[in-house]
């Protein structure tokens, strides 16, 4: 069922109407630029600038950061970002390019930075003028985030940073990075501190950004090497040694379990790409099955294929209804129970849907991006491979299950 059909507060109802009207006139038209599947896969400056223009427009119109206070560049509204998101979804707009900024950096900065830094950083983050990236993972530190080794040494009111971060999406466009650093080697958790560090302005001056190539052959991820980068102490978030707690704010929002709703657009691309996030995801398997011949008959007539597609349709609807239920107090026991399932569930549904799609395509799933005969422009074999990025990154599915078992079911820690 559509997000529109909700009991709004008066403020929300009025704001929704405003969004509808504004989007009717201002939702960007289709573009000749081939947009990537997700913001994390932005490759070209053309793509970036097209999407930045859109985010700027939406910000100026008040559709981005609606629930943040006016002082930090927000809209000062109450629980309105959801409204804007659902209207942008309905209007099938492109997505916002500054996805890490909006989803992780903004709430982290908002809850943990010094006041003047919030005013300095957040407006350009909301407008998309400054792209953000995240520096958590390291070669030796993937699932075990608290084992990061990249070190910050204090020199007066400066910090000198040395080390190596990986899987930093968008680093090649980013102005800023939120980064978890080790400031004390003698304590695992208490030895961590959290900073905002400059990237683009420091390239060649202590920061090197190198692209990492995915198994798909695409780039998009980077590794970032720090060689005596100097950062002012005012860019530290919260106290020295409190980095882990700050990181929890970032992760909670990344998992959709944070207090602030992330500004999200993107109906257009998501629909076109059959992403599990939209109600067109599993149904796009139906279209695929109708169009693919399987041994002389449409795959849609194969009862085993039908059964498998329906499983995904049901899982997808269940996922959507779970998100709906999280907002209904009376039908929730533990408020974290469903939000903490979000990332695990979404990434595994995506993976299984993409794998099923390749089964529906059969031998034709062997055809890749450049092949004219590839069904759906080979997006399914591509999506299947990329789905492992989602089940691995930002806490593997294995780590997600630990978190759920421990925080929701109260089982003893596995580590």
């Amino acid at each position: 069922m559509s997000e529109n059909e909700r009991k709004d507060t008066p403020e929300q109802a009025e704001f929704r109407q405003y969004c509808k009207d504004w989007l009717a006139d201002n939702a960007p038209p289709e573009t000749s630029i081939r947009l990537p599947l997700s913001p994390l896969e932005i490759m070209t400056k053309d793509q970036l600038h097209y999407l930045q223009d859109w985010q700027r427009k939406a910000y100026d119109a008040g559709l981005v950061g609606c629930d943040y206070p006016v002082e930090v560049g927000g809209g000062g509204r109450t629980d309105c970002q959801r409204i804007a998101n659902s209207e942008m979804q309905a209007a099938k707009t492109p997505f916002f390019p500054n996805v890490i900024g909006l989803g992780m950096a903004a709430p982290t900065v908002f809850y943990h930075a010094q006041e003047e830094k919030k005013a300095e950083l957040l407006p350009k983050l909301f407008s998309g003028e400054e792209i953000w990236c995240q520096g958590f993972s390291e070669p030796g530190s993937g699932s075990d985030l608290a084992s990061v080794q990249t070190f910050a040494e204090q020199k007066g009111d400066k910090w000198i940073i040395n080390g190596h971060k990986v899987w930093t999406s968008l680093a090649h466009f980013a102005e800023w990075m939120i980064i978890l650093l080790r400031t004390d080697k003698s304590h695992k958790y208490e030895g961590l501190s959290y900073f905002v560090v400059p990237i683009r302005s420091a390239l060649g001056k202590g920061v090197t950004v190198r692209p990492l190539i995915k198994m798909t052959g695409e780039t998009g991820f980077n590794e970032v090497i720090f060689d005596n980068l100097e950062v002012d102490d005012s860019y530290r978030l919260d106290a020295v040694g409190k980095g882990w707690q700050v990181a929890m704010t970032t992760l909670a929002h990344e998992r959709g379990a944070g207090q602030l709703v992330t500004p999200q657009a993107g109906g257009r691309v998501q629909q076109r790409e059959g992403d599990a996030k939209t109600e067109f995801g599993a149904m796009s398997l139906v279209d695929l099955a109708k169009n693919m011949q399987r041994n002389g008959k449409p795959a849609a007539e194969d009862p085993v294929i039908r059964d498998r597609i329906m499983r995904e349709v049901i899982r997808e609807e269940g996922f959507r209804q779970c998100r709906r239920r999280t907002r209904v107090q009376a039908l929730i026991d533990d408020p974290m129970r469903i939000p903490l399932q979000h990332k695990l569930r979404q990434s595994e549904i995506m993976q299984d849907m993409a794998q099923l799609a390749t089964d529906i395509e059969g031998p034709a799933a062997s055809l890749y991006l450049d092949d004219d005969h590839a069904p759906a422009n080979a997006r399914w074999p591509l999506a299947y491979m990329n789905s492992f990025g989602f089940t691995i990154a930002a806490g593997t599915s294995e780590v997600q299950r630990n978190i759920l078992g421990e925080r929701v079911l109260g089982l003893p820690k596995s580590k």
Partner: protein, 375 residues
């Protein structure tokens, strides 16, 4: 028509749910339930019904059997989400009673929309328990399959897999007449009605075959299929709600055991071989629960989509019930395999429910015709 974002689940519904939960745990906590239904372990035990009629009387007085009865027939005409909440609690308690059977009957009677059906609803409002005799001897889930005939005002033939028939006062019978399928109403103890109880695995229900030998019955409608089409979404949704409640009991009980039982100098919940499947169980339960309230809300606000959403709910709940029940026994280890452990009560009820009114694969096949074969 469209659904309210909150499923239409408000204070009234929450109060009903909470009082139901309290009623079941106060009056028949799991240990008492086990004493009541599992006193005889012999597989060749008697088929006598194990339930608490006086508690049933209180449930009737609380109005729970008339929740879904339209106000026009003297009922409370409450939302399906409220009824689902009640069924979820009955499932959590694995409560033995004709509640679900009677509620199902009220949905079907309301769908008949006839004077006779209204009279039958009034009998239920008056405190009668009823059940549906609409399944043939082969246990078909297809509405059109039927082994009962109706002629000259009398029923003959056989209905099977009749739920809680020994606890029911009245039956709604599906029967073939000259020109089609009709629905009929008669007392379970009426002349020409012979009930043979089945020997079943589930200890919290009773089930039986009903033989009709020229039994007089009142016609509720001469056209059963539209009435069934209208009522089945509620019937699928309510059994799913029951499974969701029972599944949550299994999850919480197993998690509690995993937090306390120690092996290899650890609580067994430490081991990911236990922890992760329990998380998967939780996810399946949450999905099913969300789909149940979505389907119930559709019955209330979006009836044109109720069938589709109910197929989703029952398919999800049936598969969940089998999976979660298996893990509950497995992770209780040796003790979980014993009669004295309460888990088997739920294992048996859940596997029974999973096949009732269509299993997961049958509902997916129906759903596929809906979503894939439309032009």
């Amino acid at each position: 028509m469209s659904q309210p974002q909150d499923f239409g689940f408000g204070e009234e519904e929450a109060m009903l749910r909470d009082s139901a939960r309290k009623f079941f745990s106060d009056n028949l906590a799991t240990d008492a339930l086990h004493k009541l239904v599992a006193d005889e372990s012999d597989p060749h035990r008697s088929r006598e019904v194990k339930w608490r009629p006086e508690l049933w009387q209180q449930m009737v007085e609380l109005g729970w059997t008339m929740l879904a009865v339209p106000e026009s027939a003297g009922g409370l005409g409450m939302n399906a989400v409220a009824v689902a909440a009640l069924c979820e609690e009955a499932g959590r308690a694995a409560f033995p009673s004709p509640l679900l059977a009677t509620i199902n009957t009220t949905y079907l009677l309301a769908a008949c929309d006839s004077v006779a059906a209204t009279a039958a609803l009034e009998a239920i409002v008056g405190g009668a328990a009823a059940t549906l005799a609409v399944t043939n001897c082969a246990g078909s889930w297809e509405e059109a399959d039927c082994d009962v005939q109706f002629a000259d005002g009398k029923l003959s033939g056989m209905a099977a897999f009749v739920q809680d028939v020994q606890k029911a006062d009245y039956l709604v019978v599906k029967a073939r007449h000259e020109t089609g399928l009709g629905l009929y109403w008669l007392p379970r103890d009426g002349a020409g009605v012979t009930v043979s109880p089945d020997a079943i695995v589930d200890l919290t229900r009773d089930q039986g075959r009903v033989q009709f030998g020229a039994a007089e019955a009142t016609e509720l409608t001469a056209d059963a299929l539209p009435a069934l089409a209208k009522a089945m979404p509620a019937i699928w949704t309510m059994i799913s709600a029951d499974m969701v409640g029972a599944g949550e009991w299994e999850l919480q009980t197993t998690a509690e055991y995993a937090r306390t039982r120690r092996q290899f100098d650890r609580e067994i919940g430490f081991f990911q071989a236990v922890k992760h499947p329990l998380v998967d169980a939780m996810i399946e339960i949450d999905q099913s629960r969300s789909l149940v309230y979505n389907a119930a809300c559709a019955i209330d606000y979006e009836p044109e989509l109720a069938t589709r959403y109910a197929h989703m709910a029952k398919s999800s709940a049936s598969d969940m019930a089998v999976f979660v029940s298996g893990r509950a026994v497995q992770f209780h280890g040796g003790i979980g395999f014993t009669w004295e452990c309460y888990v088997h009560l739920y294992f048996k009820r859940q596997n029974h429910s999973a096949a009732l009114w269509g299993d997961g694969s049958w509902h997916r096949a129906r759903l596929a015709s809906d979503l894939m074969d439309a032009a």
